[in-house]
């Protein structure tokens, strides 16, 4: 039945190409929307993920990394007193005003990190090295934010006025941009404190590495004994930050709506084509039924066609999505194709073709073998 089905589908090239275009369009729409969603999630929580640690300590009431407040060094001492704590890293993360080279006022997110840490924050450099940030008031920005920051020509050595002080760009990063579109300004912790006029023992977050991950709950309870402190596991902090920005902002719903729309369009186009091809072959299918083909074999006629469209259309859709990904990366939009995103997207394409085939399956199951004589 496979050969009958596939050759019958390929025989009418116009219908086949229309259906293939429909599946490919739906697949690329789905994949890009899902990739954008994954990209938004990654942007929203990227700093937490790259900084790592087993848990994060913060002032009570903070649920999102962007809503930070400075804490005193006493908090570090409180955390460090737990025997399971291996290391506590200071992190500054806060919005500050800045002035661009042409004088335009704007804001940046200062991300202050402890040098020489593992993992290195920021983790991916486009130009320069982590040690280029050792000098006073040296910073790194993402190379895709240079235009927004009005930095033209060679960015290395360019200067920005941040919180009233001149900061020099010593390196550029890649793929480290904020969901809020406020550019990150990566700088070592002492520079960040200097920019923000913070005392040497203060930080927005204390990132805690444990000797044994099984202590997470115990250390969280230990921190929460302090009335003004809170602690959450890194995974929980990632989740609450992603929920706040992507789901809470409605961006997730908008992307999901577009993806569902793509699915519906795909179902209609593929369904229409499969049904038309099936209707055209009803007499031949009835003949096979009269000759003793089982319902399963007759359903195979539709199933093979739907499978072919899913595989070819999904493949073309994936290729198109990769092209779209590369094109819109220039505009700073992150489309993230992780293995689960691709698997889920292609699974949705298969589901779409399955749903689209149901009308035809119903038609062939209702087919009476006696129709051969009509």
């Amino acid at each position: 039945m496979r050969r009958i089905a596939i050759q019958s589908l390929l025989h009418d090239r116009g219908k086949f190409l229309a259906a293939l275009a429909g599946v490919a369009f739906a697949a690329s729409l789905l994949l890009v929307q899902m990739g954008l969603y994954a990209g938004f999630l990654s942007m929203a929580s990227g700093i937490i993920e790259r900084t790592g640690g087993d848990l994060w300590v913060m002032p009570r009431g903070i649920e999102v990394i962007d809503n930070s407040e400075p804490m005193s060094g006493a908090a570090r001492a409180a955390v460090s007193s737990h025997p399971c704590v291996r290391r506590v890293r200071a992190m500054v993360y806060t919005f500050v005003s800045m002035r661009k080279p042409r004088g335009t006022p704007d804001a940046v997110t200062v991300v202050g990190f402890e040098p020489g840490g593992d993992p290195i924050v920021p983790s991916t450099f486009h130009r320069g090295l982590p040690q280029d940030l050792h000098a006073p008031l040296r910073a790194a920005v993402d190379h895709l934010d240079l235009h927004k920051l009005q930095i033209e020509g060679d960015p290395i050595g360019a200067s920005l006025e941040v919180a009233g002080q001149t900061v020099h760009i010593a390196a550029t990063t890649e793929g480290m941009r904020s969901f809020t579109l406020v550019p990150f300004l990566f700088t070592e912790i002492q520079n960040a404190r200097r920019l923000l006029h913070l005392a040497d023992d203060r930080a927005s977050y204390w990132v805690v590495d444990l000797k044994d991950r099984r202590c997470v709950d115990d250390v969280v309870r230990h921190v929460r004994r302090h009335a003004d402190l809170d602690a959450v596991s890194t995974e929980a902090f990632i989740e609450s930050t992603e929920n706040h920005w992507v789901k809470g902002s409605g961006a997730g719903s908008a992307l999901a709506f577009t993806a569902i729309l793509g699915l519906v369009v795909g179902v209609v186009i593929v369904g229409q084509t499969l049904y038309a091809v099936t209707r055209e072959h009803m007499r031949e299918l009835a003949t096979l039924k009269a000759l003793g083909a089982s319902d399963g074999e007759i359903v195979g006629f539709v199933a093979w066609q739907a499978s072919l469209l899913a595989v070819l259309g999904g493949g073309i859709g994936l290729a198109q999505s990769l092209i779209i990904q590369a094109s819109i990366a220039q505009a700073g939009l992150v489309v993230l194709f992780t293995a689960p995103v691709v698997a889920l997207g292609l699974g949705a394409v298969c589901f779409m073709c399955f749903v689209a085939s149901l009308w035809s399956v119903r038609a062939v199951l209702q087919l009476e073998a006696a129709e051969v004589f009509k």
Partner: protein, 232 residues
């Protein structure tokens, strides 16, 4: 010695619709089609020929009565079992050929054989023999759109013949063909008749009578005559 009965219908009735709206089409038909015969089922439109043919083939169930196909009570079998009996014993030829337009003549015949469990290689070898038997050895790679009406009908006969069925059923198989081609097709069908095989054809065309061993005439859902044909 009496030839083996390939199909036996006993007091078959068939109505379409239910209750007061039921329209009776067959009124107690009893009939036996034997191996070694080419039988024609003739009668005016609406006489019940096609309904009877469908019931004899196990494609429709009689409202009452029983049908045995090659000794199997096909009218009382579930659909899947009836399909297996048809697969093993029947070949069909239709007025409109019912060939897949995308497949070559060879594959139109071979694919049916693969549905019967033959490998593609084996099916193609059998299909080739069958097409050669109907004189189409040089048209095996042509698609139906590239064949004449007579050639298409011969492909359909090759398909019906390929699995060596006990009974070949045909419905108005020459209606779409010119006279000479129709006669040629009937010659081929005549050649299919053998000690183990019979042919039953529904037709309006009285010119076909000379090929038949037996003529069964129907009118208003009843068999009105059962007489020898021109070949008897």
């Amino acid at each position: 010695m009496t030839a083996e009965a390939l199909v036996r219908a006993t007091d078959v009735t068939r109505s379409y619709g239910v209750g007061a709206l039921a329209v009776p089409v067959l009124h107690g038909v009893s009939l036996e089609i034997r191996a070694g015969e080419l039988s024609l089922l003739m009668g005016p439109s609406g006489s019940g020929k096609t309904t009877l043919l469908s019931i004899l083939a196990g494609l429709l169930r009689p409202t009452t009565g029983a049908v045995e196909l090659c000794g199997v009570p096909i009218s009382s079998l579930p659909d899947s079992a009836a399909a297996r009996v048809r697969r093993a014993n029947l070949g069909f030829v239709f007025q409109t050929y019912n060939l897949f337009p995308a497949l070559t003549a060879l594959d139109n015949v071979a694919e049916v054989l693969t549905l019967q469990g033959h490998s593609l290689r084996e099916a193609r070898a059998m299909a080739l023999r069958s097409l050669a038997h109907v004189g189409l050895a040089d048209r095996t790679h042509h698609r139906p759109g590239e064949l004449s009406g007579g050639q298409k009908q011969r492909v359909a006969i090759a398909r019906a013949l390929a699995s060596d069925p006990r009974l070949v059923l045909g419905d108005e198989i020459t209606a779409a063909l010119d006279s000479a081609t129709g006669m040629a097709v009937m010659e081929i069908l005549r050649g299919l008749v053998g000690p183990r095989r019979g042919v039953l054809i529904v037709t309006h065309d009285h010119r076909m009578e000379r090929f038949a061993d037996r003529i069964i005439e129907m009118e208003d859902g009843l068999i009105t005559a059962d007489r020898p044909g021109g070949h008897a």
